[in-house]
C-alpha cells in the first residue's frame, strides 16, 4: 500500500542514504587536495548547504508569491516552513564557512569572503522575518505581511550580492578571487552527490516540519470547535 503517509519516510530514508553515500565519497574516495589537505573537504559540505539554503529561500518566496496571487490554503504555512529550513541551512553555511576560513586563512571571519557576508545579511534579514511573524496576530493579515517580506528576500539576494561585490572594491582594493579547486570528474561527481544529499535532506525536513505544523493547526481548530 503506497499512500501519502509513506512519502515522507521514503524521502527521509533517501536523504539518510544519500548523506551517508556523500560522506563516504568525500572521505574515502576522492583524493585529498594538494594545497589545502583535508580542510578542503569542507567544500563538499559548505557549498551544497549554501545552495540548498538558496533553494529553500526561493521555494519560500515562490509559495509566498502563490499565496498573494491565487491564495491556495496552506501556502502561507509552506512559505514559512521553507524559510525556516532556509535559515537553518543558512546558519550551517555560516558555521561551515567560518570553519573553512579558519582552516585556510587562519581567521574565523573574513569580510572578503562574499558568500559569508551575503549569508550574514540574509541571516539578519530572515531573522527579522521571524520577528515580524511572531509579533503579528495569526490570520490573513499576517500571511500577507510575511508573504511580501519573503518576496523582498529573493530580490534582496541578488542586490546584496552585487552590493557586496562592489563593497569589496573599496574595502579591500585587491579582490579575493576564490579560484576554487580545479574540479576533476570525480570531484564534480562527489559534489553533485553531496548537493543532492543536502537537497533531499532539506526536502525531508521540510515535509516533516510541515506535517507537524499542519497537525498543530488542525488540533487547534478541533479544540476551538470543542470549546
Amino acid at each position: 500500500m503506497w499512500s501519502r503517509n509513506n512519502a515522507v519516510p521514503a524521502l527521509a530514508a533517501a536523504a539518510g542514504l544519500l548523506v551517508c553515500a556523500s560522506i563516504a565519497l568525500i572521505f574515502f574516495w576522492i583524493p585529498e587536495d594538494a594545497d589545502q589537505g583535508i580542510s578542503q573537504k569542507i567544500f563538499y559540505f559548505h557549498v551544497p548547504i549554501a545552495l540548498t539554503a538558496y533553494a529553500c529561500f526561493g521555494w519560500g518566496a515562490l509559495k509566498a508569491f502563490l499565496h498573494l496571487w491565487r491564495r491556495p490554503p496552506g501556502a502561507d504555512l509552506e512559505s514559512y516552513v521553507a524559510i525556516h529550513q532556509g535559515v537553518i541551512f543558512g546558519a550551517l553555511t555560516l558555521i561551515t564557512g567560518s570553519i573553512w576560513a579558519r582552516a585556510s586563512w587562519g581567521v574565523w571571519w573574513a569580510w572578503s569572503s562574499e558568500q559569508l557576508v551575503l549569508f550574514l545579511v540574509l541571516f539578519l534579514f530572515y531573522s527579522a522575518y521571524f520577528m515580524l511573524r511572531f509579533s503579528v496576530e495569526p490570520g490573513p493579515a499576517r500571511a500577507n505581511l510575511c508573504a511580501v517580506y519573503a518576496l523582498f528576500g529573493v530580490v534582496l539576494i541578488p542586490i546584496s550580492f552585487l552590493a557586496i561585490r562592489l563593497a569589496n572594491d573599496f574595502i579591500h582594493p585587491t579582490v579575493f578571487t576564490s579560484q576554487g579547486p580545479q574540479m576533476a570528474g570525480s570531484m564534480f561527481f562527489t559534489f553533485c552527490v553531496a548537493w543532492a544529499a543536502m537537497l533531499t535532506l532539506a526536502a525531508a525536513l521540510y515535509h516533516i516540519e510541515l506535517a507537524g505544523k499542519r497537525l498543530d493547526v488542525s488540533l487547534r481548530e478541533l479544540r476551538e470547535r470543542l470549546a
Partner: protein, 213 residues
C-alpha cells in the same frame, strides 16, 4: 492616470500640511541629525581619515531616516485613520506613493541642514556624495515606508522597524559610501539607481497586500 496622480498629490499635500501645522517630525529630525554629527566628531579619533567621516555621514542619514520612518504612519495610527484612508475610493498604492513622497520631503529638509553642517564640522562634500544622498533618499523612503506599514501591523512597532529595515538598507549604504569615497563614483550611483528602481517597483506593487487582508 491623471486621477491617480491627483490622488497622490492630494495625499502628499495632506501629509505635508499636517507637518506644517503640527511640526512634530522635521524639527526632531534636524536636531537628531546634527546631534548625531556632533557625537560622531567625538567618536572619531582626532587623526581619523576624511573617509571615515564620510562613512559616518551615511550612518547619520540612515538613522535619521529610521527616526522619521517610525513617525511616518503616526497620524494614521490614531483613531484608525488608516482604515479611513483604505475606504477612500483611490488605488492603495497611491497611499504608499504619497507617504513615500512626504517622507522624502521631510528627510530632504533635514539633509538641507545636515549637509552644510557636515561640511562645516568635517570636510567639504563633492557632487557624487550629494547625488548619492539624493538617490539613496528615494530607496530609503520607498522601502522604509512599506516596512513601516508592516511594523504598524505588529505588536512591537518601534522595535520591529529597525530590524526589518536595516538588512534591506545595507545595499544603500554600500552604494552611498562607494559613491562618496571611491574614485569612480558613477558605478555606485548606477547601483543606487538600480536599487531604487527594483525596490520602488516591488514596494509599489505589494503595498496593497500589506494594508489589506
Amino acid at each position: 492616470m491623471s486621477g491617480y496622480l491627483r490622488d497622490v498629490a492630494l495625499l502628499t499635500r495632506k501629509d505635508v500640511l499636517l507637518e506644517l501645522r503640527a511640526r512634530d517630525a522635521v524639527p526632531a529630525l534636524l536636531l537628531f541629525v546634527v546631534s548625531a554629527l556632533v557625537v560622531f566628531h567625538f567618536a572619531l579619533p582626532a587623526d581619523a581619515a576624511e573617509l571615515a567621516a564620510k562613512g559616518m555621514l551615511w550612518v547619520a542619514i540612515l538613522f535619521t531616516a529610521l527616526l522619521g520612518l517610525g513617525r511616518a504612519f503616526q497620524a494614521e495610527r490614531q483613531q484608525s485613520m488608516l482604515d479611513g484612508l483604505l475606504l477612500a475610493p483611490c488605488d492603495r498604492s497611491a497611499i504608499w506613493l504619497a507617504k513615500t513622497l512626504a517622507t522624502i520631503v521631510f528627510l530632504g529638509v533635514a539633509e538641507l541642514v545636515a549637509l552644510p553642517a557636515f561640511a562645516l564640522f568635517f570636510s567639504a562634500l563633492d557632487w557624487e556624495t550629494v547625488a548619492g544622498i539624493a538617490l539613496a533618499n528615494l530607496g530609503i523612503c520607498a522601502v522604509g515606508t512599506l516596512v513601516a506599514a508592516m511594523a504598524l501591523a505588529s505588536r512591537a512597532r518601534e522595535l520591529l522597524l529597525p530590524l526589518l529595515f536595516l538588512p534591506l538598507a545595507i545595499p544603500i549604504v554600500v552604494g552611498g559610501v562607494g559613491a562618496s569615497v571611491a574614485d569612480d563614483g558613477g558605478r555606485y550611483l548606477g547601483f543606487l539607481a538600480l536599487y531604487d528602481a527594483v525596490f520602488a517597483i516591488i514596494s509599489w506593487a505589494s503595498f496593497e497586500y500589506v494594508v489589506t487582508e
